[in-house]
């Protein structure tokens, strides 16, 4: 196996290993990790050998974006699935996370560039700082708007969040000084991209040597490993959280607020916590998104891409279930990208109906996604994975 | 043949059984009263008859038709009208509009029918344009009954007509029930105020724990000390 394939296999093995770890949950830890590594690498290598390079790249980018959306779906799951908060303004948190990470990790434009690009700050900080800042900023936004809105009943909260989503869009569209709106903010750094270029000064020589066979085109393989790792960490954290006393209270609040309040639980406090935690995760998702697409503007976070799609993902996967959220994200992302092929195949038929229709392909796809949402709501509102009946760990078991 | 016949009806809400083989009849000229302790299932019988509940077993027949579980708006067309215990008027509509809604299924002018209701309840005539939601309990009960009478029903069902009313108004309501009956409308009522309703009724049924316990002419039940002790709280 030549070096390129080997390097790619190692990278691709990361998400597969993490997946295997999750699915093999019940085995004893040693066995789990060894088996996970073996299976992960085997499948990755297998894919590398079997699939042509183009397909493999496509598969990798697919998994990558699916994982980014999975993070967003997990965030929504904390708010809606576990606490029953109806948030139709996901795009706001998504956008705030993305733009914060971008502003924190890019450098202020110099010289000629400064004429075209304006931004509020450019700290040039590393990726990890960007991710953390994104989470914090999103969480802060949730804290600010949660106060007046969280005590509202269901559909009023929904309207308030629609408003927030709209305001965020307007803000990023109109405030040039902030993030170059409406123009895109470009040049968002890609973490560890040095590995596919001239080598990373911060990493030991043998690592650089190992990955030297890769070209910049192979960057998605690196990024998918990073994204999968972050998704895994978020998932693990949430699974623990939901089994903790905190998670127990959240579920109690959702089931019967009055009973929880009568038991002395600070219901508004818990709802705020869930709202903020969910927002932090959405912010992280935004950051992951930004560092992949490298250039962002307000149109990336419109209600379709930034909110509705994620709701379809969670509804399909099963709200109240973290695995469902991840699966839903991947399935709906697959459907979304799959419809692209479908629409391409339908080109002649579309062109026959109207000459402009083929270039409006994305909207045909959105119609299909909307129909999917209606089908879910009408026929399978609980989604693919029903809510987990979670048994909280007793104090000493944790 | 009886106007209304409930035959061995068993029913409940969800999985909870409330009625167990309940039977009763109402002839076309009588006043029949259902009494019994709280939780006996009296209101449930009403809802069963009026199609708000489907019987698990048994049948409900009205004027020769099997109406078991039939939709309420169809039952109304057969001549059976129902006055629920609470929320029995449309608060944002005027008295007159409430009456008009009672006769929704009819197409023609309603002037005559409204006048008849106003004759029965002169107090309402004075307040015909007032919003029903702003009226006192007694007046609201009159509006509720008036609405149900707009269709000249063969049988009028009343769920606790005297609930929450001052004694003077209770008298008035029962007077009106008698008047309505005298005009040819059969009446089936459920009442907490057993004494007054049995005084008025031709026949009575005592219901307890979802079953028939005793039945007979109103005066008999009224004067039976056993009945009073066992079912009517002495």
């Amino acid at each position: 196996m030549d070096n390129v394939l080997l390097a790619r296999s190692v990278l691709l093995a990361v998400p597969l290993y993490l997946l295997a770890l999750t699915l093999l949950g019940r085995l004893n830890p040693w066995l789990r990790h060894v088996l996970g590594l073996v299976i992960g690498f085997a499948v990755a290598a297998g894919l590398n050998l079997v699939l042509p390079a183009g397909d493999l790249s496509y598969f990798t980018t697919f998994v990558l974006m699916g994982c980014v959306y999975a993070v967003l779906a997990l965030g929504l799951n904390v708010q809606w699935g576990y606490t029953g908060l109806f948030n139709i303004g996901i795009a706001a948190f998504f956008a705030v996370g993305a733009f914060t990470s971008a502003l924190v990790t890019t450098n202020m434009p110099q010289g000629a560039m400064a004429a075209f690009t304006q931004q509020w700050v450019g700290l040039g900080a590393p990726f990890v700082v960007g991710v953390i800042a994104a989470g914090l900023a999103s969480g802060l936004l949730a804290l600010l708007i949660g106060g007046p809105t969280l005590r509202l009943r269901g559909d009023y909260l929904a309207i308030a969040t629609i408003g927030i989503g709209e305001l965020a869009r307007l803000f990023f569209q109109n405030e040039r000084w902030l993030a170059n709106g409406p123009q895109p903010l470009r040049g968002i750094p890609q973490p560890l991209s040095c590995l596919v270029n001239d080598g990373c000064s911060t990493l030991p020589a043998f690592v650089n040597q190992f990955f030297s066979a890769l070209s910049p085109r192979d960057y998605p393989f690196i990024y998918v490993a990073i994204v999968a790792l972050i998704l895994f960490l978020v998932y693990q954290a949430l699974e623990r959280a939901i089994r903790s006393p905190w998670g127990r209270v959240l579920r109690a609040v959702r089931e019967d607020e009055d009973a929880a309040a009568m038991n002395g639980k600070n219901v508004p406090g818990f709802r705020m916590q869930a709202f903020v935690v969910g927002a932090v995760i959405m912010g992280i998702g935004g950051s992951l998104y930004a560092h992949y697409v490298v250039a962002i503007d307000y149109s990336h976070f419109d209600p379709l891409y930034g909110t509705f799609l994620i709701w379809v993902m969670l509804m399909l996967g099963g709200s109240g279930n973290n695995r469902g959220a991840i699966l839903g994200a991947l399935v709906v992302w697959a459907i979304w990208t799959g419809t692209s092929f479908l629409v391409d195949a339908m080109r002649p038929a579309l062109a026959a109906i109207s000459p402009e229709l083929p270039q409006r392909g994305p909207y045909v796809r959105f119609l299909l996604i909307s129909i999917l949402m209606l089908v879910i709501v009408l026929y399978r509102p609980k989604g693919l994975f029903p809510e987990e009946k979670v048994v909280s760990l007793a104090r000493d078991e944790r | 043949m009886a106007l209304l016949k409930v035959d061995d009806a068993t029913a409940g809400y969800g999985e909870m059984q409330v009625l167990n083989s309940v039977s009763l009849t109402v002839e076309s000229d009588e006043i029949v009263s259902i009494v019994g302790p709280n939780g006996a299932g009296k209101s449930t019988v009403m809802k069963l008859i009026f199609g708000l509940l489907k019987p698990w077993e048994g049948t409900v027949q009205f004027d020769g038709n099997d109406i078991s579980g039939m939709a309420p708006d169809k039952i109304v067309k057969l001549g059976l009208c129902y006055v629920p215990q609470v929320d029995n008027v449309f608060p944002s509509l005027s008295v007159e509009e409430n009456l008009e809604m009672g006769a929704f299924i009819l197409d023609g002018p309603l002037g005559e029918r409204k006048e008849r209701v106003f004759e029965l309840f002169p107090r309402l005539a004075e307040r015909r344009r007032q919003r029903a939601g702003k009226m006192s309990g007694g007046e609201r009960q009159m509006v509720a009954m008036g609405r149900a009478l707009m269709l000249d029903p063969k049988l009028l069902m009343l769920d606790e007509p005297s609930a929450g009313l001052a004694p003077m108004l209770v008298d008035m309501i029962f007077e009106k029930v008698a008047e309505v009956n005298a005009a040819g409308v059969a009446v089936l009522m459920v009442e907490q105020n057993a004494k007054r309703s049995l005084e008025l009724a031709d026949r009575g049924y005592v219901l307890a724990t979802g079953r028939n316990q005793v039945e007979g002419p109103g005066s008999e039940l009224l004067n039976d000390p056993e009945v009073a002790r066992l079912y009517l709280g002495g």
Binding site: P148, G154, N174, V364, L367 | L52, L93, M101, F104
Partner: protein, 352 residues
């Protein structure tokens, strides 16, 4: 002695808190606060040297915009009242109506411009066709989706999800058929304007829009107050079970609710498109001001929807004097939050 003093102090504190609580839910508190905002606006305008004429112009434009919003808001509030459902697809229903009108105007032969306005009879014809058409479409979509959920007694959240699905679905169809660019009913048409009084100018079209909106609202009022089906709609909104018990044909009530709601949405969309422009997102952007109007005026209350719509329209336009006009809906949002904090049941609602 000390104990008594302490308990008195406690009682006073509780009294104060209770009084403050009463102040909070009070409808007049809300009115006063809104009035204070208005006063602040006037003072602010003076401070920023914004001319009285400009402010008046904005207020007048706000009233016109309020007319358009009221057409949507009445629909939203009716649907909520009768069906107990927040129709998040209503904005996009306005979009569909606008584009149906656009298609019809494109197909009909254009007549000469009607006295002083920027369009000919074809716009009126399109309007008269679009209204019942949108009504029927709205009803059809309901039968297809919401009705199935109602029968199953689905929680309101599912209805809202379905509404969102419909909203995005119909919007994608608009995108597919008409593309993403904005469009105008009449390209390159001159827009005649007139002076109303002391330097305040508005376009004649806008006057037409306001008058038409008022006419439609009056018709709806007459329908609700004078016709049997209108009263049945109000009765069903009051108490669905009692409506059924009384023999009211609730299916017909639902039909008429969607017919009216859809028709008004279609008209509102067309008028908005005439005044501003047509874009596939236009309705979604109106959703926030629509719900702000409805909440301000008390959800379920048709007259409240009117009051709310005109207020929000004015807030929207006037805010443009102080900040980027694009943030108009943001001002509406702030008013809505204010209402939800002080008195969520709105100006005309009842507590509890």
């Amino acid at each position: 002695m000390a104990v008594v003093e302490q308990s008195l102090a406690g009682a006073r504190g509780r009294n104060l808190r209770r009084r403050a609580g009463k102040l909070f839910g009070n409808r007049w508190t809300l009115v006063v606060i809104l009035a204070l905002v208005a006063v602040a606006v006037v003072i602010g305008a003076d401070a920023k040297n914004i001319s009285g004429v400009r402010m008046l112009t904005l207020v007048v434009r706000g009233v016109m915009l309020g007319g358009i919003l009221s057409l949507g808001a009445v629909g939203v509030t009716l649907i909520y009242g009768v069906l107990k459902m927040s129709n998040f697809a209503h904005g996009d229903y306005m979009t569909v109506g606008a584009y149906l009108g656009f298609a019809l105007v494109g197909v009909l032969p254009h007549g000469p411009r009607i006295a002083g306005l920027s369009f000919g009879y074809e716009f009126i014809v399109a309007l008269l066709l679009v209204m019942p058409l949108m009504g029927l479409i709205a009803y059809g979509l309901d039968r297809f989706t919401f009705r199935r959920l109602r029968v199953r007694r689905s929680p309101p959240i599912m209805m809202a999800m379905a509404a969102l699905g419909l909203a995005f679905g119909v919007r994608s169809i608009v995108y597919m058929v008409f593309g993403a660019d904005f469009a105008f009913f009449y390209t390159g048409a001159t827009r005649p304007s007139i002076e109303l009084f002391s330097g305040v100018r508005i376009r004649t079209d806008q006057l037409f829009i306001l008058v038409l909106a008022i006419v439609l609202i009056v018709l709806v009022y007459l329908l609700l107050e004078r016709t049997k089906i209108g009263k049945a709609m109000r009765a069903t909104a009051d108490n669905l079970d009692l409506a059924r018990i009384s023999g009211i044909d609730t299916e017909r009530v639902v039909f008429w609710t969607w017919l009216i709601g859809g028709a008004l949405a279609g008209a509102g969309g067309m008028l908005y498109g005439l005044d501003v422009q047509l874009r596939p997102e236009m309705g979604w952007w109106l959703l926030l001001p629509l719900f702000a109007s409805v909440i301000l005026g008390s959800i379920g209350n048709v007259y409240g929807a009117l009051v709310g719509a005109f207020t929000i329209g004015i807030v929207w336009q006037v805010s443009g004097a102080f900040m980027n006009p694009a943030y108009g809906p943001g001002a509406a949002f702030l008013v809505m939050i204010l209402v939800l904090l002080i008195r969520p049941e709105g100006l005309l609602g009842r507590r509890g």
